[in-house]
Amino acid sequence: MANNTLNKNVKIGLEIHCQLTNLNTKLFCSCSADYRGKPSNTHLCPVCLGIPGSLPVGNKDAVKDAILVALALESKIMNRLVFFRKNYFYPDMPKNFQISQYDKAGGVPIAIGGHVTIQAGNRKKKVEITRIQIEEDPAKLLHQGSIDISPYTLVDYNRAGIALLEIVTEPCLKSPKEARIFLQKLRAILEHLGVSDGKLEGAMRCDANISHIGGDRVEIKNISSFKEVERALTFEIVRQKSLLSRGIKIKMETRHWDDVRKLTISLRTKEKEQDYRYFPELDIVPITILKEEIEKLRRKMPELPDARWTRFMEKYKLPTYDAGVLTNNKALGDFFEECVKIYPYPKKVSNWIMTDLQRWLHEKNVEISKSKITPQALVSMIRLIDKGIISGKIAKRVLPELIITGKSPEEIVEEQQLLRISSRREIEKLADKVLENNPQAVKDALVDEKAVHYLVGQLMKLSKGKADPQLSNEIMKEKLKSFLNK
């Protein structure tokens, strides 16, 4: 699979668009930014709907967010905030230009340079950042079915004008997998900064450019989630390779990722390439970004994933890998720390989070912050095991219930009668049944130790895992001995 092989001939650059989801209002107007799940076209005013005569006024906190991100990525923050217009027509554009920033023609982005360090296999890699800029989100287009057969387009402008950060990388990524790892790390950084919640649908989107050595650059637009990035890039690399292997030259073009059919389709080729005619947005007066302002924000910088990683290793004595996983997702790290606060056995907590909890979250396709499990619940469950009230095996059955129902482990244990059976009499009854039903195994067991395990296993199965394993083992051996003596 192209997905996993490091391909020296491929260069990938990403353009990530992150919504600043911590803001109350849009970038240039006071409409509520909380548009998700709201009726279409209800978060609009003359400014974000592009009604003639309206004028934009920038959101103070959007600039603060951008500076925080720039500090986190160690980018150079420019001293002037200048907006430019990017002119092009498209049905998701209320004004048919986007208020954005630009790094040429007298413009400056809010920050340039910077990097994100990722763990690529067993080595660290610096992914170089080209620039960070602030811009507005376009509207959301709804197609009936796939984009190329939709008879018309429905437009919901609620999203139009939402504050976005565009983060552009150098074309330094070597594989779709590296791209995914980078994006996950970037997301963790933004979440730790508290500026963008990557869990929200469409909050982080991505355009990619891919080129093979000797071929032209192909841009892929509309990759709406990080999960899709790896898929879209893999598709495109395979498509390009197959063209190359047939001796077809790859031409510069822009392709659209169709996430219904999982393939890329050509939007436009170079002959009709856009000319964005960037020029200053004169309705917004440039402002000076003061050094003091930046320093004030620097002092308020929260802990970032890398620092947290180190701290988890030092403070909680977690292995590198565990600490890495727990800090690569802010909510997971927070969950872990909440648990450890009330139950000071980090490795035990981490084991449960890293294995069963993660697996179930993944299986139920739910983010930890959206699931119903609380740190108290997980800790209570571990305590039940510690006290011998439930077995580890039973705990594995309790855990998904915690995630879905949000009940306490005690409630679940009681409701489903999962309490451990530790009464001698009850286990003896079960043992008798097992012995009666497995005459051949009993014969074997008398000569072969392994068959004893089988019989204990059957006993556990009969008790639905609730029987105390040690006691069951003991009783089974006693019963067998008494058989011998008969």
């Binding site: 978060h43 429905l154 437009v155 440039p286």
Partner: protein, 99 residues
């Protein structure tokens, strides 16, 4: 500063009109090409100004930019937002198809 006379061709006019999303008839293309050339020729007067060391003035007067507090204000009602739309459908603006 010597400059060769710049000429805009009909083909360029076609391309620029495409960028500007304005359909032109053949007659308009011909007329505009001719008119643009006489207008651009007039504009060339600024070529004689030496501006190498001059900074551009985006705004005429000195203005101080201001940012807004991040506080929500009421939006338009959906009816009002959609009132001027050419076509609408169940609370959506209906725009022509993409492909």
């Amino acid at each position: 500063m010597e400059k060769v006379s710049k000429k805009i061709t009909k083909k360029e006019v076609e391309h620029i009109a495409w960028l500007a999303k304005i359909e032109l008839t053949e007659d308009e293309k011909n007329l505009f090409t001719e008119q643009f050339n006489s207008i651009l020729e007039y504009f060339q007067v600024i070529d004689e100004v030496a501006t190498d060391k001059v900074l551009p003035s985006f705004h005429a007067v000195d203005l101080t930019g201001v940012l807004r507090e991040d506080i929500v204000e009421p939006s338009l009602s959906r009816e009002k937002a959609l009132a001027n739309a050419s076509k609408k459908d169940k609370g959506f603006f209906k725009s022509p198809k993409i492909f």
